[in-house]
Symmetry: C2
Subunit: 201 residues, 2 copies
Amino acid sequence: MSKEPKLSFKQQQLIVRENAIIDSTNMLLAQKGYDLMTMDEVAADVGIAKASLYKHFPSKEALAAAAMIRLMENTLAFVRGLDAQQRPIDQLRGVLQWALEIRMKGGLPTLPSENTSLRDALMNNNRYINRLLDLNELMGELIEKARADGAIRKDLPAEVVLFTIYARSCDPTMDYLRMTGQYTDAQVTEFLLSTCFAGLQ
Amino acid sequence: MSKEPKLSFKQQQLIVRENAIIDSTNMLLAQKGYDLMTMDEVAADVGIAKASLYKHFPSKEALAAAAMIRLMENTLAFVRGLDAQQRPIDQLRGVLQWALEIRMKGGLPTLPSENTSLRDALMNNNRYINRLLDLNELMGELIEKARADGAIRKDLPAEVVLFTIYARSCDPTMDYLRMTGQYTDAQVTEFLLSTCFAGLQ
DNA sequence: GTCTATACCATGATAGAC
DNA sequence: GTCTATCATGGTATAGAC
């Protein structure tokens, strides 16, 4: 930590404001998805005019990308902070559990599932792609270790395991189970985790 | 079968035309999703003017609902035609395999996964809801039987099993695995089936 | 029932004053 | 940097001639 603050008060204000914008974006993206989210809504939720929004982010795509990148960085931080003493399979389980709990609270899934213009845009965003590659690498290592332990089936390519875990984080089963109103959020999470790792049989 | 055709030539033509419209709708819905699909595209794909499209279906919602209803009826027909000699668990597996193969060919998943205006609209469509309830009942019976056989875990509520199977039919893992280009469609299908029923462990 | 042409509106994006 | 006011685009839906 440097003693002298690098950022002026104005710059700090800017960051706070932009974080607030991304918070609103995050929530709206989770609620309505990229295509149905409008810049008017974001501006209204933040409490600023739409034109001001465009001073911070040059386009809707850039705004959504910023939200996805922040999410990806949070995910990376979580994975890097995992307890290395734990069994790799439990660490993997922990990642999925963390992602599901974020989504329960109104957050976004780690991977955009929809065939939307957002996915295309993200695939051309270097910063996002780099974070995603980093995450894939970390997760890939965990998967290899878990497989060496015999905790994960050896007949599945690592990619299949990886995507299956990612997919579970954006699985609509969560929404449908919650809609029945019969289970607590913790129970729903446990069902999703358990069926992902242990299957139905 | 009645010997005298109930439908005039003109009426038959109408049905053929409407089926063609639904075919195009189906393909475009699968490719782009509801929100990104435009009525211009549908009309262009069918080869008619947009205004003509509106003579057949009063709105975009109604058109998409018609496509989803036809899909649901096809699914019901498939499930009703299952070989009752097979083990219930294999019948369930067969349903998922069938759904995945449809999607591989460019068809729609049985359940709309996205948080889109389409899902809201469908939930208010009695005809669609009735078909969905019928399907849920048939699938629920299969699940109960499979559970009685010991082929499905008894600690999972039937709903969890049902939604987990539905979700796998619209799982983005399929898209991501195909994008790698490393596996045949049959292999991808097998991975999805296997991880759904047997899990990762 | 099909077409061309158009009304109407939502939304992403911008201009220009302060 | 924020605001109000506005533009431009593209989309659903419809009018009216044939």
